[in-house]
């Protein structure tokens, strides 16, 4: 069993198809959705973890792509800009998975572990120095 983080970008016309249903039912995948914006008449996105056999994940991705949905297998939703980070530590109590954490107890420098990030985006609103930003270009979230 493998878990893979995927981002689906939906063109306007495909947002009504029950894609997630088919991924579960036909490809035997376990789905964990972190973030979704699926508004009728608009470009939408879905950020999810899929867990299953490698071959099923690949077939699932091909199935999703057949609807003209763009599938991104590598991109991270959250970008942490190290040069903007002052290591103040305000994010620490707001990051639910400790993706943002103290990397050295002596210097108390803050680091970011992209593997642990679940794209909740809590850090964006809570970073006083705008060190965190999101690839999701809707309204207020892609500002720096």
């Amino acid at each position: 069993m493998t878990t893979k983080k995927l981002m689906f970008y939906f063109p306007k016309s495909e947002t009504e198809k029950p894609i997630v249903y088919h991924l579960v039912k036909d490809y035997d995948l376990i789905i964990n959705i972190f973030r979704a914006k699926v508004t009728p008449e608009e470009f939408g996105y879905l950020v999810l973890d899929v867990t299953g056999e490698d071959a099923d994940i690949q077939r699932g991705i091909e199935f999703v792509r057949s609807f003209n949905v763009e599938v991104n297998e590598t991109e991270r939703g959250l970008t942490w800009n190290e040069s903007r980070c002052t290591s103040c530590g305000n994010c620490l109590a707001h990051c639910p998975t400790n993706a943002l954490h103290i990397i050295d107890p002596v210097t108390r420098k803050v680091g970011f572990d992209p593997e642990a990030c679940i794209d909740c985006l809590a850090c964006i609103d809570n970073c006083p120095f705008h060190a965190c930003s999101s690839v999701f270009a809707d309204t207020t979230e892609a500002r720096i």
Partner: protein, 393 residues
């Protein structure tokens, strides 16, 4: 016993022994207080965090024809112009013109005075727009131009309150989120925020202001600045531990320095969602080790420094004076504190990493003979409390 002059001569010779307030703790443990006091000449302290009472005086130079500016904006942030013709004061917490503030609650406060100050120090271009009523000797009534800090005659940082000796730990006991200058406080005491460099912080290492006073040379964001007065709200008469270290706010410093000599990265604009804008400032202060007692006070540890946990949903805004409990900085730095039987996550607004970097930079400058210690020209008040504002009808 050493004098300021003796220490400065060693600094000039390149023989001064300089340790950071972090390093000195183990050093004194190893060597013993008296032996260490003979050897160590200077202990460097530092802090980096939001300090809202910060800003700068600028002089734009005169345009042709001249203008007696009455209203002005730098990057759409209002500067105070009720002083001489082309002088102005840019305050850290001033919002940008047309910022909706909290009309769409909670507001974002993306940009303000603190960000303009950061841009100036980064030598980025900012826009000046100014208005006037026009006079015989200053006929111009409007101008718009672009400038960098190098185009200004002076850019002098003048911060009425920096380096709070100690600070509240903020939490939220209510069932709604609270947006504060201590960040977002989640409902039902899900998090606390503190803001102090603890064992590295200047006034926690000199709790009775024995060496830090008016005239003390300080490292202000990379420039050599000075303490020009007691800071606003300086209130040294407070609850103190057996070690003399305040268990609440206490002393503050008013600092000034030449912004043209400041380094990027040590002055940063700050945005607090739902609250406003501010400026994070990096300050380093050397403590000359004149005698063993002064050295002993610099060995204070995070586990010996306590701060009060205050409810920012009610007790802080309503000024009830109620304190939930006191916790040590060692507990805070562990990542969780226990409050009323509950484990609560801890966040911080003061960067220990930056403070350590500053303490090391300052130590390096002193060892290189580039930064001398200075005897205060006047002491800071040691007995004084803060008064409240009475609302009279």
């Amino acid at each position: 016993m050493k004098t300021y002059d003796q220490i400065n001569r060693k600094i000039e010779n390149g023989t001064a022994v300089v340790l950071t307030a972090d390093e000195v703790i183990d050093y004194v443990d190893r060597k013993g207080l008296d032996a260490a006091a003979n050897e160590v000449d200077v202990v460097t302290t530092a802090t980096f965090g939001p300090m809202c009472s910060s800003g700068c005086f600028v002089n734009f130079g005169h345009s042709k024809p001249k203008m007696r500016i009455t209203e002005a904006w730098l990057d759409d942030v209002l500067v105070y112009s009720g002083i001489a013709a082309v002088d102005a004061y840019l305050g850290a917490s001033q919002l940008r013109h047309n910022d909706p503030a909290n009309m769409y609650y909670p507001g974002e406060f993306r940009f303000g005075g603190g960000h303009v100050i950061e841009k100036l120090i980064n030598r980025e271009t900012v826009q000046l727009f100014a208005l006037s009523y026009g006079t015989d000797d200053y006929p111009r009534r409007e101008l718009r131009t672009h400038l960098t800090i190098d185009d200004l005659n002076q850019a002098i940082m003048v911060n009425p309150r920096n380096c709070y000796q100690n600070y509240n730990v903020a939490t939220n006991r209510s069932d709604k989120p609270v947006y504060t200058y201590m960040g977002l406080l989640k409902p039902r005491m899900k998090n606390v925020t503190y803001s102090s460099a603890g064992q590295l912080s200047p006034l926690l290492n000199d709790p009775f202001y024995e060496t830090i006073g008016i005239g003390t040379r300080v490292w202000l964001a990379g420039a050599q600045g000075h303490v020009y007065a007691e800071g606003t709200q300086h209130a040294p008469s407070c609850d103190r531990g057996a070690n003399g270290v305040p268990r609440e706010g206490a002393g503050t410093l008013a600092l000034t320095g030449d912004m043209k000599k400041m380094k990027p990265g040590f002055v940063r604009g700050v945005s607090f969602k739902g609250y406003g804008v501010s400026l994070a400032v990096g300050v380093g202060i050397p403590i000359p080790i004149l005698n063993p007692e002064i050295l002993r006070r610099t060995t204070v540890r995070d586990e010996e420094i306590f701060a009060q946990v205050i409810d920012y949903s009610h007790d802080y805004p309503q000024k009830t004076g109620e304190v939930i409990t006191s916790v040590s900085y060692a507990q805070l730095r562990s990542g969780t504190v226990e409050l009323e039987g509950k484990q609560v996550e801890v966040g911080s607004l003061s960067s220990y990493a930056k403070a350590l970097e500053i303490a090391e930079l300052l130590a390096g400058e002193i060892r290189a003979g580039d930064f001398l210690v200075s005897e205060p020209i006047a002491p800071l008040p040691r007995e004084q409390a803060m008064t409240s504002l009475e609302i009279r009808r």
